[in-house]
């Protein structure tokens, strides 16, 4: 039995209105690489933040080797002192300083520093960890991977026992990932316990010993990686049992007679956000869906189509004509609408009224120098407030005072007003109540039956099965399959994600 380094027991944490963690246990041994996995809102980052003292826990105990009592971490600095260090995806070093300075600055308050000695020490640290950097090199001249390694080296040199790597591989290419992994193995052999937060399934299988899966703030379980097939892991993350065939009704078949007219066709499209080239077709009156786990590249695909990310490869045809879409405005003018994933950040403008938010997209297409009159705008707004049943005091109410579901409807109204031929809905049902969810799904089907082509993305697989007539399945930024008709079952989706043909 390995030595246990860290135990977290019965951890509870809630925020106003949300139970972020409920009765979660976590155990880390010396020299172990332990993955922490889960979908959006599973509680991964909350657990990490509780451990590092960013949040205080509501209940539960944390023990660390070498301290007799349960520890109560109040700040990241305190966590440091206990030997718990975190390296985030966004590098928390200073790019304008040298490697040595990044390793040693802030570790004491002395006015004078013997930089010569530090440089020598830095050199030996870099050498022992095989990090390809020079002590006097400016950090910004190093690649992202090396910068991350320097951050890890700093943590290791500060006697960290528990190293938390929060999505470290998201911005690395394959070679860099390999380098990072060899560094992780080196640390493992030194007895450091590593918590590896990631959403890349293959990487997890490559490097990790154990995996703890969370879902909806609850512990699903702790597993030996070697004993857990990928398809089961996918099932656990999605919260479905394999062979659970309940409530799979493919209502998308309602539009089986959708015409064969192609609205949007992508050939080998790839964007600068790391998405691998993919093909995609959307027919008139069809609801398509991108299915996959968090971070599998669902949003990146549609963002590439909409021109929100820079397309680096491939061709896009709209209604058979080759189109070069370099900006969202061009996409809008070609009749594409996009309802973004994060409506708070990318969608609504909270201080503006419901009316102004609704006419925004149409106004942009028309140009800001030809504004609508107030009565025109009012007519548009009232029409869609009625159609969608937006619950608002008046069209003048600021959007920020509406509930999440109604905010979502406002954005939907904004796009419907432009009468797009092709509408992309990225997680339109996230964080809204169940009644509105059903309304939105019905609306999607209705719009499709009226001839609009729609792409619908959701983390909830049932929703996709209910609304979509064709599913594109994705894993690790790559399209791995396409399911249609009777093939569209939960099991099939999970097997496709896991890369097992059945």
């Amino acid at each position: 039995m390995q030595n246990i380094l860290l135990t977290m027991k019965n951890i509870y944490k809630s925020f106003p209105g949300v139970r972020a963690l409920q009765n979660v246990d976590f155990t880390l041994c010396e020299g172990e690489i332990h993955a922490l996995m889960g979908e959006n809102g599973a509680g991964k980052s909350t657990l990490i933040k509780v451990l590092t003292g960013v949040y205080s826990k509501d209940a539960g105990e944390i023990h660390i080797k070498g301290v007799d009592k349960p520890i109560n971490v109040k700040s990241p600095q305190e966590a440091h002192k206990l030997g718990i260090s975190t390296v985030y995806q966004e590098i928390s070093l200073c790019p304008n300083l040298t490697v040595t300075e990044n390793l040693f600055i802030g570790r004491n308050e002395d006015l004078l520093v013997n930089w010569k000695k530090c440089n020598k020490k830095a050199e030996s640290i870099l050498e022992s960890l095989k990090i390809p950097a020079k002590p006097g090199q400016q950090l910004s001249n190093c690649s992202i991977a090396v910068q991350q390694m320097v951050a890890i080296a700093r943590a290791v040199d500060m006697d960290c026992k528990v190293l938390i790597l929060d999505e470290p591989t998201s911005s690395l290419d394959e070679q860099e990932v390999a380098k990072l992994f060899s560094l992780m193995r080196e640390l493992k052999s030194r007895g450091v316990g590593i918590i590896f937060v990631t959403h890349f399934l293959e990487q997890m299988y490559e490097i990790c010993d154990k995996v703890t899966v969370l879902r909806g703030g609850e512990l699903v379980g702790e597993y030996q990686v070697s004993e857990l097939p990928m398809v089961e892991l996918v099932a656990k993350m999605m919260g479905k049992e394999l062979g659970d065939l309940a409530n799979i009704q493919n209502k998308g078949k309602l539009n089986a007679e959708s015409s064969k007219e192609i609205i949007v066709e992508a050939e080998g499209l790839a964007s600068d956000r790391g998405i691998k080239p993919f093909d995609f077709k959307a027919h008139k009156g069809e609801v398509t869906g991108f299915a996959g786990l968090l971070g599998s590249g669902r949003s990146e695909c549609v963002r590439a189509i909409f021109g929100a990310d820079r397309v680096i490869k491939g061709r896009l045809k709209i209604k058979g004509e080759e189109a070069s879409i370099t900006s969202p405005l061009k996409a809008m003018k070609k009749g594409i609408g996009y309802l973004p994933e994060d409506r708070q950040r990318d969608g609504i403008i909270g201080d503006l009224s419901v009316r102004d938010n609704i006419i925004l997209a149409l106004q942009t297409m028309r140009g800001f120098f030809r504004p609508f009159t107030k009565s025109q705008a009012q007519a548009f707004a009232e029409e869609y407030i009625n159609i969608l049943g937006i619950k608002t005091a008046s069209a003048d109410t600021p959007v920020s005072s509406l509930s999440g579901g109604n905010q979502q409807k406002v954005i939907l109204a904004r796009w419907l007003l432009t009468h797009p031929d092709y509408l992309i809905l990225d997680e339109p049902t996230r964080g809204i109540d169940i009644g509105t969810k059903v309304e939105i799904q019905r609306l999607v089907l209705k719009l499709a039956s009226e001839g609009m082509s729609i792409t619908f993305i959701s983390s909830e697989i049932e929703e996709m099965l209910r609304t979509c007539s064709r599913l594109i399945v994705m894993r690790d930024l790559q399209v791995v399959g396409e399911l249609e008709g009777d093939d569209m079952t939960q099991d099939k989706i999970m097997y496709t994600i896991a890369g097992v043909s059945k």
């Binding site: 928390s92 200073c94 304008n96 700093r154």
Partner: protein, 337 residues
């Protein structure tokens, strides 16, 4: 493995450009404007004599700009120091040292209060120091509305003293050898340049300035006390404004409400020409020194060419500032690729 030659850091690159610009302009002015006095050593000395105070003040601004902040109160502080020191020297029997202490106290007080507001209460540096600038000028008018001169034998004696380096001088038209004279203020300014050079390069405090300016969030996670570092930067800038203000008085021996107007802008432009980025995290003292010197030299050259109108030096400096900013943004965008 292919070994790529280490590219020089941006700081070094910008510094090289600044220094070589200065050297080129100086050599050109000796070649073409030698008869206007540019071939005389005294001309070089005068360049330093005139700009000693600005050098010190610009060092202070470089420090706050490295942390990503700004201080536009230094001109007002300089005027306040001059007038209040003169009043004290003339009426209250202050001597050189007590006047110096007064100057430092004024500078530090401004630095401390502004630093506190900016660092701990997280107010906008521009607004806070704008208020400081108005306050400084306002206080000058409160103390003395008219232009005043130092009337204190001891102080005048010290301020009139010059350093003469043996055999360093020029021969005038009559063939008589005239010693070149350097003011003591220049020595102080150069000492401060070296101290600041060391402080920014080698000490924990100096590197913290860079860390905070480069990425304050990262600096925080690295264990640096960001607020204290910001405060220290403004305190240091205040101290240097105190010294600079005193050197200004030492050189001019007069004080008025309109004195040192735009000095803060001269200091900022010198820092920028010297390679300091307004966004923080990049900058160096040697560059600032040469930034001040280039500004001063261009002024001399433009006047020597015969454009006595006051707008020509301004337009020339605008052009230079433009040139350096474009250069910096090219370097920055090249790095992003």
């Amino acid at each position: 493995m292919l070994k790529r030659k280490q590219a020089p850091s941006d700081t070094a690159f910008l510094l090289t450009i600044t220094i070589s610009m200065f050297v080129v302009i100086y050599i050109l002015s000796i070649m073409f404007l030698g008869d206007k006095g540019f071939n005389k050593i005294q001309m070089l000395f005068n360049l330093f004599n005139e700009n000693a105070a600005l050098i010190v003040i610009a060092c202070g601004l470089t420090v706050v700009m490295i942390t990503g902040s700004i201080d536009i109160s230094v001109g007002g502080v300089t005027a306040l120091i001059c007038t209040s020191c003169i009043v004290c020297l003339n009426k209250y029997d202050f001597n050189f040292f007590t006047a110096l202490i007064l100057a430092l106290a004024i500078g530090l007080a401004f630095g401390a209060v502004q630093g506190f507001l900016i660092a701990y209460l997280e107010m906008q540096p521009f607004i806070v120091t704008l208020a400081g600038m108005f306050l400084g000028r306002g206080l000058v008018a409160l103390i003395e509305v008219n232009q005043i001169q130092v009337d204190n034998k001891g102080f005048e004696l010290l301020s009139g003293a010059r350093i003469e380096i043996p055999f360093l001088g020029d021969i005038n038209k009559k063939g008589v050898f005239i010693q070149s004279k350097l003011e003591y203020g220049v020595v102080v300014a150069l000492i401060i340049v070296f101290v600041m050079l060391w402080l920014l390069k080698k000490t924990n405090l100096g590197r913290s300035f860079y860390a905070v300016g480069g990425n304050s969030q990262s600096a925080l996670t690295l264990g640096i006390n960001v607020k204290k570092t910001r405060f220290n930067a403004h305190l240091l800038c205040g101290l240097l404004a105190g010294i600079g203000g005193f050197l200004y008085l030492f050189h001019t021996r007069s004080g008025s409400v309109q004195q040192a107007t735009g000095l803060e802008m001269d200091a900022i432009s010198a820092s920028i020409i010297g390679g300091t980025l307004l966004t923080g995290g990049v900058g160096n003292i040697l560059g600032t020194l040469f930034g001040v010197l280039i500004n001063g030299l261009v002024l001399l050259v433009v006047t020597a060419i015969g454009n006595q109108d006051p707008w020509w030096p301004q337009i020339t400096r605008a052009g230079m500032l433009c040139f350096f900013i474009v250069l910096q943004s090219i370097i920055c965008s090249r790095k992003k690729k």
